[in-house]
Amino acid sequence: MTYFRAVDPFPLESADHNKLHEFYARLGQGRLSTTRCAGCGRTAWPPRAFCAECCSDRFDWVDLPSAGTVHAFTVQATGLPVGFDGPRVFAIVEVDGHRVFSIIVDGDPSQIAIGQRVSLKPLRVGDDPQGHPRWLPAFTPV
């Protein structure tokens, strides 16, 4: 028997599983969004269903700009987890004052630079067990 063990590395994003399902639904439409606390009005990144400042669990969704600038990045050549190919560009992208952790896809890794403009590129990953599409917020050079 061939050695094999599988684990799903992606979030369960649908309304059946996740309070933040609206984030993923909007992402599938090409929109980057996050939560704004209905109690104190703070906008968070990443989105959250509990406000650490005022302890409210009520929140609204707000769209963020779909572009940002590279704040920091590193290229990982080898030693990546199974199922994730290299070279892989991990980046912190500044979007409207928020630092967003993501990856930069579809660019030449050797041409990435701090301060570079990048735009949202929703990345489709494996469907969930019910067959719903799943998305992660990746970025690509402008």
């Binding site: 590395p9 920091a72 590193t74 290229v75 990982q76 080898t78 199974v82 991990f90 967003v100 952790f101």
Partner: protein, 389 residues
């Protein structure tokens, strides 16, 4: 609070081991009891086991009870498992310390154990992604190397730290490990070897990184009364501190080469011990990557901020310098079996402060320090002394 000391310590062989999770527990337990003749498992009142991911790597929970049964310990005061990623073992020592200092127990083992290697290395690395945020980080394929690469880039840009200086941490720790039969690597390394090793995540190369390693270690922690009964040379826990800046990478200060939580943890531990950084003779710091050791020198106060590169290049963190850092070989040389690392560091300080470290002995070592980070934003520091106060 009551005074608390280590009275026994032992480390099993670290490496890619043809051994089960339980085999590793037996080895560390055997080595620990061998260091304290006259002490037997039935004498202990409990144990704390630091272990991060046996559910993934050994398909096993209920760890503390498994280890207690394997070693013949019948807990009557304390039995628990600590999971705190890379700091799990040291967090276990803090639990035992607090129970004993408070008078809730007198004699407790802390055992750290991790079976990390898997039939394929890609799966072992995949498992390491459990230590970062699944939904917002690990789903992108993030593990530790890119995080510490960001810190290294920042340190190089801001302070002029060089690739050679990062490499010298790898050289020092690989060469120290060559004198430690329990280390994963025993061959030492030259600067050329380190700088020519393959790139993992720029600017961190293979020999600047800790490997995936199996291993276990154990110490026995005792109240003052029991410690003085059991040995003439207990090693006293003098201080401890722990602090958090953040969990997710984007929760940390924008300067990834500045770790204020480590400063706070160290300040707390130093104050409790009544010492300053200059009093530390030997330190086991968390060199999961070379940059982490350099930043630790600065935040622990061994050198001013920004000067860690010249500090290591001048040999000031090696034998004959200001403070010997990572005499057992560090995580780079010994490997980093997560839950075992903090306990193995304590075991090294135990032998160093008893003049039992053989070829690795730091002359006249009187004050020892251990440090772990779990991620870049969370830190724990312990201070040990040859004297109780």
């Amino acid at each position: 609070m009551r005074k608390v000391a280590l009275v026994a310590a032992g480390v099993g062989k670290f490496g890619v081991r043809q051994a089960t999770y339980r085999d590793l527990i037996w080895e560390a337990g055997k080595a620990c009891f061998d260091s304290a003749p006259g002490l037997r498992p039935k004498d202990l009142e409990g144990l704390v086991v630091g272990s991060v991911m046996p559910e993934r790597t050994a398909f096993q929970s209920h760890i503390s009870s498994l280890a207690a049964e394997a070693l013949g310990i019948r807990p009557s005061a304390l039995s628990a498992r600590t999971e705190h990623m890379c700091a799990s073992g040291t967090v276990g020592i803090r639990y035992a310390y607090a129970f004993i200092a408070a008078g809730l127990a007198d004699l407790v083992m802390v055992l750290g154990v991790e079976k990390l290697t898997q039939p394929t290395s890609e799966e072992a690395i995949f498992n390491m992604g459990t230590g970062v945020d699944r939904e917002w980080e690990a789903a992108f394929g993030l593990t530790a190397p890119p995080c510490f690469a960001l810190a290294a880039q920042r340190h190089m840009t801001r302070y002029g730290t060089t690739e050679e200086q990062l490499g010298l941490v790898g050289v020092k720790n690989h060469n120290h490990a060559a004198k430690n039969p329990n280390a994963h690597f025993n061959k030492g390394a030259t600067l050329d070897q380190v700088l020519c090793s393959r790139m993992i995540s720029s600017p961190l190369r293979l020999f600047m990184c800790s490997p995936i390693t199996d291993g276990a270690a154990a110490v026995i922690v005792a109240s003052e009364e029991r410690a003085r009964d059991l040995t003439d040379t207990p090693v006293w826990i003098r201080g401890t501190g722990q602090a958090l800046d953040g969990f997710q990478l984007t929760s940390l200060p924008e300067d990834y080469a500045h770790w204020p939580a480590l400063q706070r943890a160290a300040e707390c531990a130093y104050r409790m011990a009544g010492i300053t950084a200059g009093d530390v003779d030997v330190a086991e710091v968390h060199d999961c990557f070379a940059i982490a050791e350099l930043i630790a020198y600065e935040e622990l106060g061994f050198c001013p901020k920004g000067e860690a590169g010249t500090f290591v290049a001048a040999g000031r963190s090696d034998y004959g310098g200001d403070v010997v850092v990572n005499p057992r070989g560090g995580l780079i040389g010994c490997g980093h079996p997560l839950g075992a690392t903090g306990v193995a560091q304590a075991a090294e300080i135990f032998v160093q402060l008893r003049d039992e470290a053989g070829a690795r002995q730091v002359p006249e070592a009187s004050i020892g320090l251990t440090h772990n980070n779990s991620g870049m934003g969370e830190h724990v520091v312990m201070i040990y002394g040859r004297q109780a106060s």
